[in-house]
């Protein structure tokens, strides 16, 4: 083989080796870091195993927020207006975001414990009050479909 051909071959081998290693590592990393998302109704129907990490999204139910006076523990209920899931969070792992309020859409990360309580490690609320995250919106839409008869009620709640 001529030297420049040999160089070119080495180059191609080098690049394809690098690429395949990277693609393999990337896919592996991707598969390890997928966070599934479930709606309160899916959780209530037992689609998630206790202990499995996932994200849940919905509205903070009116009147459900309880903050302890002596420590940083917080409890509230998230709802898609069909099912409710109780959530426990401790602000020792981070103060709740500014826009966390009753009636506001939130997304929480964590897992369900043996008592059916979602133990959140992180709670996200969005910075734009007009903006609803796709997850929360999807949860609401799914619930609306399930609950077509009560859709007027849901709309009323949403427009509040």
């Amino acid at each position: 083989m001529k030297p420049h051909r040999r160089n070119r071959l080495a180059l191609i081998l080098f690049i394809s080796f690098g690429l395949s290693v990277t693609v393999g590592l990337t896919l592996f990393a991707l598969s390890q870091n997928i966070n599934m998302f479930f709606t309160p109704t899916q959780v209530a129907q037992g689609e998630v195993q206790p202990g499995q990490a996932f994200r849940i999204g919905g509205m903070v139910k009116e009147g459900s927020l309880v903050k302890n006076e002596l420590d940083l523990a917080v409890r509230f209920t998230t709802t898609d207006f069909v099912s409710d899931v109780p959530i426990a969070y401790n602000e020792a792992s981070g103060i709740l975001p500014d826009l966390f309020r009753e009636g506001q859409g939130i997304v929480a990360e964590g897992s369900v414990d043996a008592f059916g309580i979602f133990q959140a490690t992180k709670v996200l609320a969005k910075h734009d009050e007009n903006y609803m995250s796709p997850e929360v919106k999807a949860a609401m839409d799914a619930a609306k479909l399930l609950n077509a008869d009560e859709s007027d009620l849901v709309n009323e709640e949403l427009t509040k």
Binding site: I15, A29, Q32, L72
Partner: protein
């Protein structure tokens, strides 16, 4: 009246853009000097009318004209003046107008500074930028007109600017980021013009390079400001979150970085031309993807605008047309390109190629992680998100070889460089960085921490190799002054930017390794320790501003019983929207930041709060600033300055145009 003038100006600008994208282009195909000469005045016209529209909208904000829907939605009579003037980019419509304004500014700059570029080439560049502007202006006028009126009754007061945006970061981050983003449109237009004319040579690379460098530098600044703003505003002490909207600018930046290096090879050696053009298209695609993701509302993000899907489809249309067109042109014309000169496996070309491959792969893997949730949802209907661990797991291993080659590349020779000479030149640097990299963190903290050792070691590896190269270059000259003067600005720019990377790498690794935080519930008079610092809670008092009221807590920080500083975090409620907002208190320092965010006050008077100590976090942005200056300094190199003689030569070549010297023109 003024909003109508603004609206009308936009329509006029659109018409001028149509003319700009048609006539100079036809002129360049036919070799008609008169038509080509229209490019400059038309560009000036586009700029004037877009600027007029922009000023009209700003005036509507300044005068509280709530009959304009966009103003009513994003401003309020109580909003401080500085935010009224900048609230223009507080929402979707206005920020897209800013985007177009930036593009017309870049076009004006191209028209003004490219006097040495042949007229037919310039006509093509401006005309392609005109085509892009047509798309953007159509989008703005058809789906997101910022001048829409509220009929028949205007509200008495506006809804207010989102309280999270009322901050200095909001004034500087969006315009800078947009300016950097849009700069890659110019590079794209240069590449397209080169493909069309078949004039893809070193001269083209030399014309294109300063624009690429400046766009890259401004994008770097935009990213840096965004990171800094997120750090102090969002209140979780993070400087990068792999948020789906943070990622596209990073992807664009990675591709832009590859492009800046590949252009160097194209200019100096005439090689990698095809690849450089491809990177120009990709970097531009990255910038469009950024707008698409932000404005379509497809992904969960703190940046997302409340938006409707129609806009997303329109932008997707622009994206497909411009990028598809670019790729098609590339496919048709690039086989005509002649390959560059050969080079050996151990050569500067090869090291720069490695750099390019790593950067592009990094960009691709960030893109994959960003878009994967969307693809997954389309295929399975299930909603997922990809967490930061994915990005860290992929990005860091790719950056390590990149950093390794950063020291090797600049010291190597074009075409061929012997491995042995590299080993002798870098052996000492490697030894010193290894010893100090392990030694310094170990001696100072008395703990073994892999990432801080790697960070310090690699930072030394880059900076020492730069210093040793600088020393060698100067030693060749008879005296130091002559040596320092003898080196080109582009060399100094490269040095600065690479040292910036070293500073940033050190900052990232040290702040990731040694940051500590804790959330506590404390009453006035109580205190707590975090690391070597003591935080003592003092009294709370009321504060108020023009459009908010709130409370402020005094916190005294001391170290070894010596008072250091008083931190005053606030909790505000904005009148117009009623939204609460925390204002962190930060004591910034060269070696460490102390920072407190305030939560709520409990019934017994205790405050919940999070305390942070973040060593070396400032180095991340300091490094980015070095890169910005590096990019600007090398763009100012005198070989990119347009000399009078080349202008004369240009005139001469124009004279020969009419005699049919346009064989290479046309597709």
């Amino acid at each position: 009246m003024l909003p109508e003038i603004g609206h009308f100006s936009l329509i006029l600008a659109l018409n001028l853009c149509v003319l700009l994208s048609v006539f100079p282009f036809i002129g360049s195909v036919k070799g008609d000097v008169v038509l080509m000469s229209l490019a400059r005045p038309l560009t000036v016209g586009v700029f004037v009318f877009v600027a007029l529209a922009y000023v009209s909208l700003t005036a509507a904000f300044a005068t509280d004209d709530f009959s304009v829907l966009y103003v009513a939605e994003h401003s309020n009579t109580l909003l401080p003046e500085r935010y009224k003037l900048t609230a223009v980019w507080g929402g979707h419509e206005g920020s897209f107008l800013l985007w177009i304004f930036m593009l017309s500014g870049w076009m004006l700059a191209v028209a003004h500074f490219s006097r040495s570029v042949p007229l037919d080439f310039l006509a093509r560049v401006l005309s392609i930028l005109g085509m892009l502007s047509v798309g953007y202006l159509l989008f703005l006028l058809a789906t997101s007109n910022p001048f829409d009126r509220v009929v028949p009754l205007a509200p008495a007061d506006g809804a207010d600017l989102n309280s999270a945006l009322q901050d200095f970061g909001f004034i500087v981050h969006p315009p800078t980021l947009y300016m950097g983003y849009v700069g890659f449109s110019v590079v794209f237009a240069f590449a397209m013009a080169a493909l069309l004319s078949g004039r893809l040579d070193s001269a083209w690379a030399r014309w294109c390079r300063p624009w690429a460098n400046v766009a890259w530098a401004i994008l770097t600044l935009g990213l840096c400001l965004g990171s800094w703003w997120a750090y102090y505003e969002l209140g979780w002490g993070g400087w990068w979150a792999w948020d789906p909207v943070e990622n596209p600018p990073l992807i664009t930046w990675l591709l832009g970085t590859a492009l800046v290096h590949s252009l160097a090879v194209s200019e100096k050696r005439g090689a990698f031309k095809s690849w450089t053009v491809m990177l120009s298209i990709l970097a531009f695609a990255g910038s469009l993807l950024g707008t698409f993701i932000t404005r379509s509302g497809l992904l969960t993000s703190i940046h997302a605008f409340a938006s409707d899907p129609e806009r997303g489809i329109f932008i997707l249309g622009i994206l497909v047309l411009s990028i598809g067109g670019g790729l098609l042109l590339y496919a048709v014309r690039s086989p005509l390109l002649k390959g560059g000169v050969g080079f050996e496996l151990s050569s500067r070309e090869m090291f720069l190629l490695t750099n390019n491959v790593l950067l592009v792969v990094a960009a691709a893997s960030v893109l994959l992680g960003t878009l994967f949730p969307m693809i997954f949802q389309a295929l399975t209907g299930k909603l997922i998100s990809i967490g930061p661990p994915y990005f860290n797991a992929i990005f860091i291993p790719l950056m390590i070889p990149l950093i390794f080659f950063m020291a090797v590349g600049p010291l190597s020779m074009w075409k061929s460089t012997s491995v042995r000479s590299m080993v002798t030149r870098l052996g000492r640097v490697a030894m010193i960085s290894l010893v100090l990299g392990i030694g310094l963190p170990l001696v100072i903290t008395l703990e073994f921490d892999f990432w801080s050792i790697a960070g310090v070691g690699f930072a030394l590896w880059i900076s020492l190799s730069m210093i040793s190269d600088f020393g060698n270059k100067i030693r060749k000259k008879s005296n130091i002054v002559e040596g320092v003067r003898g080196l080109s600005l582009s060399y100094y720019g490269m040095q600065l930017a690479h040292i910036g990377v070293a500073v940033m790498v050190a900052g990232i690794s040290l702040t990731s390794s040694y940051s500590i935080e804790k959330s506590v519930l404390l009453q006035s008079g109580e205190s707590t320790d975090l690391g070597e610092f003591n935080f003592e809670i003092g009294a709370a008092r009321s504060v108020s501003g023009k459009n908010f009221s709130g409370q402020e807590v005094s916190i005294n920080v001391s170290k070894d019983d010596i008072f250091l500083t008083e931190l005053l975090p606030q909790r505000r409620v904005y009148f117009a929207s009623g939204t609460p907002s925390t204002e962190m208190a930060i004591d910034a320092g060269f070696l460490r930041d102390l920072f407190v965010t305030l939560g709520e006050q409990k019934e017994n008077g205790a405050w919940s709060m999070t305390l942070y100590v973040k060593p070396f976090v400032r180095w991340i942005w300091l490094g980015a600033l070095f890169m910005v200056f590096g990019g600007l300094v090398s763009a100012a190199d005198k070989r990119y300055r347009y000399l009078q003689e080349s202008v004369d030569k240009n005139k001469k070549s124009l004279a020969t145009y009419s005699s049919g010297k346009t064989a290479d023109v046309g597709v």
